[in-house]
């Protein structure tokens, strides 16, 4: 298990944050996700097999952009 920290560009409403959470949670290997509209940041608990590309894809496919991803 690892933790992805994601900085997100393009969120502007509360639904945006919950959409990204939903999209992240649908990504295989992602156990849980939490996105903060205020901080423009999200965290996702995910299995080790999840790559930053997977995360980026989950965010981008619903119309938002990724500024930075860091695994912990």
């Amino acid at each position: 298990m690892k933790k992805a920290k994601i900085e997100i560009i393009g969120m502007h409403c509360a639904s945006c944050a919950s959409n990204i959470e939903r999209s992240l949670k649908k990504t295989p290997g992602v156990k849980s996700a939490s996105v903060s509209l205020l901080l423009k940041k999200g965290t996702a608990e995910c299995e080790d097999k999840v790559t930053w590309e997977d995360i980026e894809k989950a965010v981008k496919r619903i119309g938002y952009n990724v500024k930075h991803i860091e695994f912990e």
Partner: protein
């Protein structure tokens, strides 16, 4: 495996390549700037649209024929919708197709329907709402701009923290001072810090004396004295002397970096009260879409007026706003934790702000929490000259490492110690040695009895000091008691004030300690605490907390050194900072400053923040509960609905910002 490594390397690179921008916050400013451009642009066109709409509908002025007016509005409204509002329209439509609906979907659908009525009105008898489309978009953009600005204000304290760090440092290389970027400092480098300069990074004073203003990091308002051996916190400001400081922590490991991480993590965390609002937010937009369709159908069926059906369903689309609900809790939490950070109160678990309301018992660890955790000499009673007594005592004790020995040495402040021969530590009892020609023994009554030294003259005083919770050392020279020194772990300056305040607020304050009952009671009494749990081994503190929890919620205040399990066991763990080490892992709330007043402040702050959250949630719920039915009923003009929507989220964010007015 090989692939994995490759992947990780890419991660690394990706991580580093953007890392340069990691902590500056231009995204927010850019967002505000972007909304501002859209705001100005869209109003440039929306004002003429409004003028045309009003002139014909309200003032009955017919500048152009109705048909021409519609065409002009469609043309002028076009850039508002499809240039300045393009990101909203595009995002909204994408949402409709991917089933990831957001605010944009509602606005896009609402404005597009309204805009199309304009085109339709050219060929049929439908009413023209195209002007309304442009107005809604212009108001939406305006609302977003104001909201983005208010959101930016909510995080101002955190931004200040981010900007707090020093940029440049002067480092000694050989005998030369080299100016360099803070990021280039290595552990072990000696930094030179002049009066008025910022401490570049955490370090240990190796030379020099000064006072340092630490208020920006710990909330401690008085300057702190620093000398050789003192720890310095990066980003604090040196006041009056030159300090030579060895860098001990850099980059991510510094005190300031820890504080920032703590505050940020707490802010991205969700607290229980938010759960319902979040659930609603996540199904909000699709529900509103359905409701809007039902409204359209209902109106069309009941009134068989397409125009009224369109107006009502567009109103429903644009009035519904999940933002007020979604922002209610996090904005208040952000302002609250930012205010806390400024005072040296770090809210590590946002949940604590909610739980603290239910707390009934506040349990304080004694050593290092209520007391300074450092024994000091409080009384001296001598049968010889006091100076002489201290001189021989300190000369002997400076060879010992015991905390009580250190207290005596500290008190004597000798420049030169007398020569000691045959020094011996008598474990648990005292020390002895030969000074000059006389044998000197320092220790407790057991040691004196053992050495058959009489101390009858001091009996009364020993009894008195011990009943005050002090430890008494007897000094004997040549087999005769010549004086006693009483040592106590004194209360911190503001412990009494803090505990009195808490008692007044009807909390039950309790002191927990490993000391014997007599000593513990004496200290508790001095501190204003009536209940004492004494003779508790460090590992049993958590158990005692658990027992109390059967009777009510417990907050535990400790320094995290040997009471981490108790901090974890309690409902709200408040960890006291000790100098430059903050007990990050063990507390729900961490006090950067070692004062108990922080506990009362943390409680006040939490209560105020939680009250704001509740207010905000109330407004957000009430707004939607009242406004949506009004829109469904067709009682709200779409433009009015849009203005109400924009105001709802602005109200919530502004209300959160008002938390700052509260005196903590």
């Amino acid at each position: 495996m090989h692939e994995m490594k490759h992947e990780e390397m890419k991660e690394e690179q990706e991580s580093h390549s953007i890392n340069g921008h990691h902590h500056d916050a231009p995204v927010e400013d850019e967002e505000i700037k972007d909304w501002w451009k859209k705001l100005v642009g869209s109003w440039l066109f929306a004002i003429p649209v409004a003028f045309l709409m009003l002139s014909s509908r309200i003032f009955g002025l017919e500048l152009f024929s109705a048909r021409l007016t519609t065409i002009i509005i469609l043309v002028i409204g076009f850039p508002v919708m499809f240039y300045f509002g393009w990101s909203t329209i595009r995002g909204g439509i994408r949402g409709l197709f991917t089933f990831y609906f957001n605010m944009d979907s509602l606005i896009a659908l609402g404005t597009l329907v309204a805009y199309i009525t304009g085109i339709a009105s050219l060929f049929s008898s439908t009413l023209d709402y195209s002007g309304v489309a442009a107005m809604i978009m212009a108001f939406y953009v305006t609302g977003k701009y104001v909201e983005a600005k208010a959101r930016g204000r909510a995080s101002q304290e955190i931004k200040k923290l981010l900007e707090l760090g020093a940029k440049k440092a002067r480092v000694l290389q050989g005998k030369q001072e080299i100016e360099m970027d803070v990021s280039q400092i290595k552990i072990g480098d000696i930094m030179v810090i002049r009066p008025g300069e910022k401490v570049p990074t955490d370090g240990l004073v190796v030379k020099g004396e000064s006072s340092v203003d630490e208020s920006m990091v710990t909330g401690e308002s008085l300057p702190v004295e620093k000398k050789k051996g003192s720890n310095l916190i990066g980003a604090t400001i040196n006041q009056d002397g030159i300090l030579y400081v060895k860098a001990t922590k850099i980059g991510k490991d510094t005190f300031l970096a820890h504080i920032i991480k703590l505050v940020e993590e707490a802010q991205s965390e969700k607290i229980p009260i938010q759960v319902l609002a979040d659930k609603i937010t996540s199904i909000f937009v699709p529900s509103v879409l359905v409701l809007s369709i039902l409204t359209f159908g209902g109106w069309f069926w009941l009134s068989s007026s397409l125009n009224r059906a369109i107006a009502a369903s567009v109103s429903v689309l644009v009035i519904a706003c999940p933002c007020a609900l979604g922002l209610a809790t996090p904005t208040a939490l952000m302002v609250g934790s930012g205010m806390g950070a400024k005072l040296g109160i770090l809210i590590r678990k946002g949940e604590a702000m909610q739980t603290i309301k239910k707390v009934r018992f506040i349990v304080f660890d004694k050593t290092g929490t209520i007391t300074k955790g450092k024994p000091e000499v409080t009384n001296i009673s001598a049968g010889v000259k006091e100076n002489y007594l201290l001189e021989i005592a300190a000369s002997l004790e400076h060879l010992s490492e015991h905390p009580i020995a250190k207290a005596i040495v500290e008190k004597a402040k000798l420049k030169k110690y007398r020569e000691v021969k045959g020094f011996k530590v008598l474990r648990g009892r005292g020390v002895e040695g030969i000074i000059g020609k006389s044998n000197v023994v320092i220790g407790n009554r057991f040691l004196m009895n053992e050495k058959k030294i009489l101390f009858k003259d001091f009996d009364g005083e020993i009894e008195r000091f011990e009943s005050q919770g002090k430890t008494v050392m007897i000094i004997a020279e040549k087999g005769k008691a010549v004086g006693i020194i009483a040592v106590a772990d004194a209360l911190k300056e503001d412990s009494v004030m803090a505990i009195t305040t808490l008692n007044k607020q009807e909390y039950e304050t309790i002191m927990i300690t490993g000391d014997n009952e007599k000593t513990a009671k004496a200290i508790a009494k001095e501190a204003g605490i009536s209940e004492v749990i004494a003779n508790v081994l460090p590992e049993d503190k958590a158990k005692k907390v658990e027992e109390l929890q059967k009777k009510g919620f417990v907050a535990f205040v400790g320094d995290g050194i040997n009471d981490a399990p108790a901090l974890k066991q309690s409902n709200v763990g408040i960890a006291m900072g000790t100098g430059t080490d903050i007990a990050i892992e063990s507390g729900d709330i961490v006090l950067a400053r070692g004062s108990l007043l922080g506990v009362t402040q943390a409680i006040n702050l939490s209560k105020a923040t939680f009250k704001k959250i509740k207010q905000n949630l109330f407004w957000a719920f009430a707004y939607n509960v009242v406004a949506i039915p009004l829109a469904v009923a067709g009682l709200l003009h779409p433009v009015v609905a849009e203005i109400a929507m924009a105001l709802s989220s602005i109200t919530v964010v502004t209300n959160a910002n008002l938390l700052r007015r509260k005196k903590i």
